[in-house]
Symmetry: D2
Subunit: 433 residues, 4 copies
């Protein structure tokens, strides 16, 4: 959550906040519009939440942290919704077990939309008062919006997983995807870009929003290294597969090798052989793999094994941020949720060999750094102290955002985190050496 | 499945079969009409199947065993539906794991209704040819109808379970239930009715339909015993609870006592204390327990522990059938699915002390007999040999039908079976001594 | 546990009891003599108890039910032993979880022998007073002796399992077994022996000892049937294996078929192919399978599948006892623990075709009858009410005793019971049709 | 494993290696001498290996990597021992599942000692040839010795755990412990010692032995910080407990809080209230907690929660090594395995406030740094590449050695690693701020 210091005063904030609120809320619903009610209820694995739950949870967040706090006389929409839609805040009482989110048919999807409308209506009232409210209100508004953007990315990836579990391989959208109509583009040729060592500063220092885990900017020391100019492609990853990468324990961390065997991994998630050719499940159903596009839907274990095989390694988190600053990474040219709201997928890097491609957007890049607190990190008091801090163990940092991340949500300093075995996000590989 | 011998030739069969087919199919849909699409998808425990799955599975049964066999040129509606909607027939190939039925959002509910309409249309064509078809066709039709009736009972109980998992305690139907409006009726006073011992014949011998597990009528020897004139009531069961029945291992079988502790059972399924009074979850939401009505939703372990506490015991299967024949049990006066399609619940026995009440209908009666083959039982060849025979281990026989059983589906000789720990069916207690 | 009525007054009982006590206790120790301390501690699966535990548990039984009750001033040997060595008596307080018996290295084996000596010494004192003690004392003595004999059989089978888990295939005894030295004997040719139907009496009626579960003799009705004249041999079972019996679901009950697949069963327990020939693990290590000897170490599921394949079936419990009485079965000629204390194994039936072989001894015969209470069965009050009664669910009756049963422990009416999946006892197949 | 470069040529190496070999091997056996055979077999949790297994595994290591490679004509002692005593080397074939190590009674303890003697005899032959062997031989010898020392520490902690599982609380040694005889010493008063920030070098650079994971010395940047002058004591930890530390989620990482609840943690491992006073299980059985001694047997989660509560934090790995170098930490004054071979326990820091106590010895200090590769780390080829590298995920670094570490085994640069939930090692807390 944001520190007070990090939010700049913005004169037109009341107006712009109301506009942004509306835009964010509408985008969430746009993501869910192609779904059937049936699609919004199921939870095919514990990491995935039903879309109906996402729709309600982000709404509960505004209700709990904004309306209950700042709108005089506001009464909660339903007394049981806190139990149903609290994600993980111990401060806010007991809740449905995460694994049971897919067992609940009620409230109905229509009820959840009514809940959204109710909260939106009261948020509009509250936002009309925004100029009279303390700075803390604006910080919480910002957090609420960023929070809903995080869930937009989860909606995109959870919807993909949900549809993929059916042997019918249903398409979220009926139209063919772009890449299926054109021959595979060529990805930019590989180049290794040197990054000079020394002391650098990382972490957020601007006046805009950032999460609490990015704060406390501090100096890091990195040695000279070289960064690959783009993400590893599906075609390159296929070479690893064909070279027996999934059958040779020497490339793998021990816990990864156990998973390869018990889960019988032999390709990225969503890949399957169909009439002798590798396909992958997409929002448009089963499509041939685009060999020039970045490989995604791989675990940290697969990323690390690939790097081993390729004679390189994954970057550390400081290396990644130092390089991204060195190359002046910006969202321009990257693929984000807005690029193709209903069909997020990473695109091939264009052929310009002089640039460092895809640092922001396209695919989250696994780093070989644990998600631990930055020096000087302090958990906030109250429920929002649970937002990020309590997860700082046994996870790895990912950087750069993906094709399912809203472009306004990403930053150079953004720290995402997942357990090493997770594959359902758009996670990819950046090599260093 | 039925033996050839057991189906009498019926001249008007073609007509009546078509009528019956239509009636059974419509009733299934009537049961599902109050549901939202969301309700039809979830599987909150492994025993419960999503209603959408039931709707499709019974349709697949007609498609597989009737249309594919007897309608010239029939092509299956969808090549993947056999994988999705085969329940447990190894003869018919691989299938979705039972535990994963609730992870599938597709095909959509509307698609399943289209599947039903498609099959109904072709069944109508086929039934027009019925008089030209062999006897085996009519047997399979009968089996298909009986099969769908079995799933009507499961739909009633699965819907109840699905709705109960929500903390919102949603009502399937908004209207108040009958029993909630009137003071609790008095149940008939307890009486013990003597049944003389000797050699009797049990098992099905008529010319109508029966399942293969009821066949091979044979003689059994029973000693003199006494049967209680009605089912044990909620009020009586509450006395057991209040006497500490759930806290005293001496009443319990060992495996039952383990469940009492690990599952923290302290009342029948669906009971909860609400403002100091016992309520139970019903198709109308939470309602006060009717103390005169039969206790239901109890495991065999609870039935047996209650009998222990009450100084009596449960009947064996032969005792039950001998008594039911001795008292000339008929469906008249019993409560069945037709009694209250959208609100099945057992009703109090009326006060006539001279009769043996509720032998058919109201609640399935746990017997202390294992579900094993009758002497001379032979599994049929082919897929239908898997219908009943392969379950004849580790389950107990229940007799008499319940308030969720279609009245035309029950017989004196009907053998139902569940594992001893199951509670989500309308299962109750009949005492003998 | 025994009813008062079932123990005949025996004038010389004090003397004979002391002798029998000594003999039983010594035999238990003789069974354990070839073991190393290491062998007595481990628990390679939950059904198997460490031999050290058996040695102590049977001693605790005498201490708890005899010494504490009848020997004035007796103080327990160690206050923690009741916690450690109580098997399953809720009446007697908390205890080590069954699955954790193999995690305890202490008390040491030598301590357990000291415990045995201590209890034996006090039992000798108590037995000197036997003539002055009430009848209940003698009943409990009898029960304590029978109980220790039951554990002798478990020791024999548990030791076999423990040694078998080592890839070293260690021999309990170094000498070669008899059967390995001689060519396979011929088993008696198969014959089907008719047993006429009618009303018969089963259950224990004599004046000696029996367990409470055999009591309440009662009449049963059986139809005409034929019994096979001997147990199914290893050679016959191998034909089933070679005919694909473990690969064809049609022979199997559903839960059995699941086990075949998840456990990858393809032969009886202890069988393994060694240089192209089937061997089995024995108390002498790995030995070639004797094709004429009865097949053992099979689950109920395998017995039932074999019977299916062979076009026959397993007997019910009443059929078994009626047949055993009809053929006047006696222990003579059967193989029991005394036949070969340190190398129990069933032997081929001799060639006399006129007899019914192996009804008592050699192998426990799976019946297709659930282990339920006999009519009129009443659980005793107090801890001994837990001896048998609470297990009367989800298990099957086995009859006749095995090569690991003490001959003085078996009776025509003896009801043994195991879950359908258990394989580590000497369990075999008797066919009827 | 060691790099070639890191082993200095030592002229008298052959002689000294033989002496060291003998000394290390004898110490391992001295650790096991007080055990009964029964104690050497059991595995009460998956992390703990049976002492018999340790005795054999370290021997197999010498046999596999030294004798088979360098002693001409050497034949392995037993063909199955590689299967039984390989710990985790995929390169060396299949092996017993780790969780099943406690199910094997054979080979007997005496056989394992025979195996040790056999290997020792051949190692003596081999060591006589040492001067003629390549440098790689000496490196492997060194590694074999260090490896056996690692297992000495595990033996000490595994023996403690094994004995602790018995409700008898057996003493490994009968004599009372030192600390129980004297009143609790006072620990040194707390002081915060400043460590200036800047660029420092960490990692091993000397000419002696180190593990491969310590190599690749490199520069790190640390900010100014203060280190507490000694380990957190039991008395201080008790204050955390009494302040409700185990009941307040705000101090805990999310996965730690889940463990507190599911495992019902409320004190360090081995602590129990006995007559109103906290005791802990030791090699001498149950003893009162020495409040001045360092707290041990705590998970990372507990260490981190304590630090939170105390308003401080745990050091990172670079901070720890920088501080240890800054304070010139040496083993002098620390408590190691040699301090009290058969009764390892940490001792109170003496009262000298000017020093930084206990950096080496007494207790492993949890750092808040993941166990990841150092920059430039390369896994060795062959089986020894599996020694350390494949574990570099999901574990945390611990530093400094403990009272169970051989003093000649520890270094300033030594990187130990465990999962965050492990408690059976002598793990403690060093605070920084």
């Amino acid at each position: 959550m944001p520190s007070s210091a990090s939010i700049a005063p913005a004169p037109a904030s009341a107006l712009s906040l109301a506009h942004r609120y509306q835009a964010v809320r509408q985008r969430t619903e746009a993501l869910c519009r192609p779904l059937l009610p049936e699609d919004t209820v199921v939870q095919p694995m514990i990491d995935v939440s039903p879309p109906k739950w996402h729709l309600a949870h982000v709404t509960w967040f505004f209700e709990t942290f904004l309306l209950k706090e700042y709108l005089p006389g506001y009464a909660v929409y339903h007394p049981d919704y806190a139990f149903l839609f609290n994600s993980y805040y111990n401060s806010l009482g007991s809740r449905v077990n995460r694994a049971d989110r897919g067992t609940l048919s009620r409230p109905a999807l229509a009820d959840v939309y009514r809940y959204r409308a109710h909260v939106d209506e009261h948020m509009t009232q509250l936002l009309a008062l925004a100029d009279t409210l303390p700075a803390a209100f604006q910080e919480l508004m910002e957090l609420g919006l960023q929070h809903e953007q995080q869930h937009q990315e989860l909606l995109a990836t959870d919807i993909k997983y949900i549809l993929s579990t059916s042997p019918l391989a249903p398409a979220y959208l009926p139209e063919p995807e772009r890449s299926a109509q054109t021959p595979d583009a060529q990805a930019a040729p590989v180049a290794w870009l040197p990054v000079p060592g020394g002391i650098s500063r990382i972490g957020y220092e601007g006046s805009g929003f950032c999460f609490d885990n990015e704060q406390a900017p501090h100096e890091v020391l990195t040695a000279d290294f070289e960064l690959q100019n783009r993400l590893v492609t599906n075609g390159e990853y296929l070479q690893f597969m064909e070279a027996g990468g999934y059958r040779d324990f020497r490339y793998w961390l021990g816990e990864g090798w156990d998973l390869v065997q018990t889960q019988q991994w032999e390709a990225p998630l969503y890949w399957m052989l169909h009439e002798g050719r590798w396909h992958r499940f997409t929002h448009h159903g089963l499509q041939p793999v685009n060999m020039a596009a970045p490989v995604t839907h791989i675990s940290f274990y697969e990323a690390d094994a690939y790097a081993h095989w390729a004679g390189a390694r994954l970057p550390t988190e400081p290396e990644w941020e130092v390089a991204a600053r060195y190359f002046g990474a910006t969202p321009t040219g990257g693929t984000f949720l807005e690029s193709n709201l209903l069909d997020p997928q990473p695109l091939p890097a264009d052929a310009d060999p002089g640039r460092c491609h895809q640092l922001l957007g396209d695919a989250w890049e696994w780093t070989y750094s644990a998600y631990h607190p930055y020096p000087g990190y302090v958990r906030a008091a109250g429920a929002l102290g649970e937002y990020n801090g309590k997860f700082m163990i046994n996870q790895l940092v990912l950087r750069g955002g993906s094709c399912a991340t809203p472009v306004s949500h990403i930053r150079l300093t953004y720290r995402n985190f997942f357990h090493a075995d997770k594959r359902w996000q758009f996670t990819g590989i950046r090599l260093v050496r």
